[in-house]
Symmetry: C2
Subunit: 299 residues, 2 copies
């Protein structure tokens, strides 16, 4: 089976932008920046920033103009991976086929590299000077919520604490741990290209809500496929140890439902994502392509 198609032109934009970041640090912090770049430039599909660019593109906004915020979301994703991989959390030695940050740079530097990426992410968003200040504030608020205890960190905690015992818990855990940041990537793209989110939803102001509905399905889809790949993928393609979730007795979609039912759930969720896409304005072909990719990806 061939790897499904992916918007490589957007991935390339992100990659070049990330490669250009040196975080302007004092030379004394050179090794910290090296650790940050080591993890940041380990490859990957860059799904979050590509989503930000794809949403802007679909709304007729030049993708390059939202690159700093798109990249910020990849910095945040990388920060969460570095901390997740630490010995006291998931204790992973391998990530994207390479030794993890703490294996190469030591645990102390890895913790600080994660912390630094998080700060620099906000710095990038704020550097995006062409955006109007209302949109920028909304993006910062979105990222703060998506990463906090009601988002990514809360989900990581539930995972660490082994609190995801049934389907409902599992859904909440993943919605927080991975879903909220994917949602933030999509919503940021919308906000920076003119979509408005009113606190009092009215007829004309449900635009961001439609992006959130799409993002929610995409996040769940992403996680189900991730669990399937962990069970069935081989380590060389995955770039990490396959079957690790099972060995660690983690609650996953496969553990809860079995492989066949998990695959059916993935198809069903993909269908709902495409339904949600139909409510969005503009040319959403690239967003469809990404949803298809997430369903059919092999790593």
């Amino acid at each position: 089976m061939n790897e499904p198609s992916y918007p490589l032109h957007l991935q390339r934009l992100v990659e070049e932008y990330l490669e250009s970041l040196d975080f302007g640090a004092d030379r004394r912090a050179a090794r910290l920046v090296e650790a940050m770049r080591y993890s940041l430039l380990a490859g990957g599909k860059r799904i979050r920033p590509v989503l930000t660019l794809a949403v802007a593109d679909s709304r007729g906004v030049e993708p390059a103009t939202v690159l700093p915020t798109a990249a910020a979301l990849e910095l945040i994703h990388t920060y969460s991976l570095i901390h997740d991989d630490l010995p006291s959390i998931d204790d992973d030695d391998l990530r994207r086929g390479r030794p993890t940050c703490h294996v190469v740079y030591g645990e102390d530097v890895a913790i600080l590299a994660g912390d630094g990426l998080f700060s620099e992410a906000f710095h990038l968003v704020l550097d995006q000077q062409r955006a109007d200040s209302g949109a920028l504030l909304a993006v910062v608020a979105e990222i703060a919520r998506a990463t906090g205890v009601g988002g990514m960190v809360g989900g990581q905690f539930m995972d660490v604490a082994g609190l995801a015992a049934d389907h409902d818990d599992l859904r909440v855990m993943h919605a927080l741990k991975t879903g909220r940041l994917i949602e933030a990537a999509i919503v940021a793209g919308a906000l920076l290209s003119g979509a408005r989110e009113d606190r009092e939803p009215s007829a004309g102001a449900a635009e961001v809500a439609a992006y959130r509905a799409f993002a929610t399905e995409l996040g769940v889809l992403f996680q189900i496929v991730d669990d399937i790949l962990d069970e069935t993928g081989d380590a060389a393609v995955l770039g990490k140890t396959a079957g690790k979730d099972r060995t660690q007795a983690k609650a996953t979609y496969v553990a809860l439902f079995g492989l066949d039912e998990a695959r059916r759930l993935a198809e069903e969720t993909h269908g709902r994502a495409l339904d949600a896409l139909r409510a969005l304005p503009g040319d959403t072909a690239v967003l469809v392509q990404i949803a298809d990719y997430i369903l059919r990806r092999r790593h």
Copy 2:
């Protein structure tokens, strides 16, 4: 010698506000929030948020209106302490007289508690709805810079890597590790109460620069006194192990210059801080009181 006076009315405002924060998390993340609050509510003089309030007050702005941002700076300070205390970094068991976060909640939860406090700090700033959006964006940018590789995290890295061997390195390390966040606290207070910082400094726009000059001296003063107290203080008053810097052969002002010269440097820096204060508008009596407190504090 009596403890010098301190603006307790501002400290009390901060304390009550911090106490009220529950981060609105899912009940499943209750223990994470407990760990965050455990470290956040361990007491202390709350110097950073008190500075934010004091600057607002000096400019005729009701201190309570800048409380969320002031508190955000204490959340960030607490996050940095939690990560600093981790076994792979400073390996401290005791902080403010109590077992450190990782001792009580485990290393995994402590890492996430720090991460969560950082996210929630931005959340607090953005919730400050009465401020104008230009000022809020400037505050977020200030905090991002102050905490990143060109700020707090960069300074922590230099400390961890043992890169502070001479006076120049020591000055840079502390300016980044503690100075920049103290500066952000002061600048945030100024920005939220109407001070403007132009990218092209002109006659009328040097206002924020004057606050930065004061902040720089105050940050250095804070660190010199910290080093003196580590050498001379007793553990019961300090709430941490005295003499630890010396045992760990850390570069400190005392190690580099000896106790007498460090004390002379502290007096001299305090004098420069008061000089810088004279360039500031409004009634700066409380800021003078804080500078005096930092010089004469016993823990």
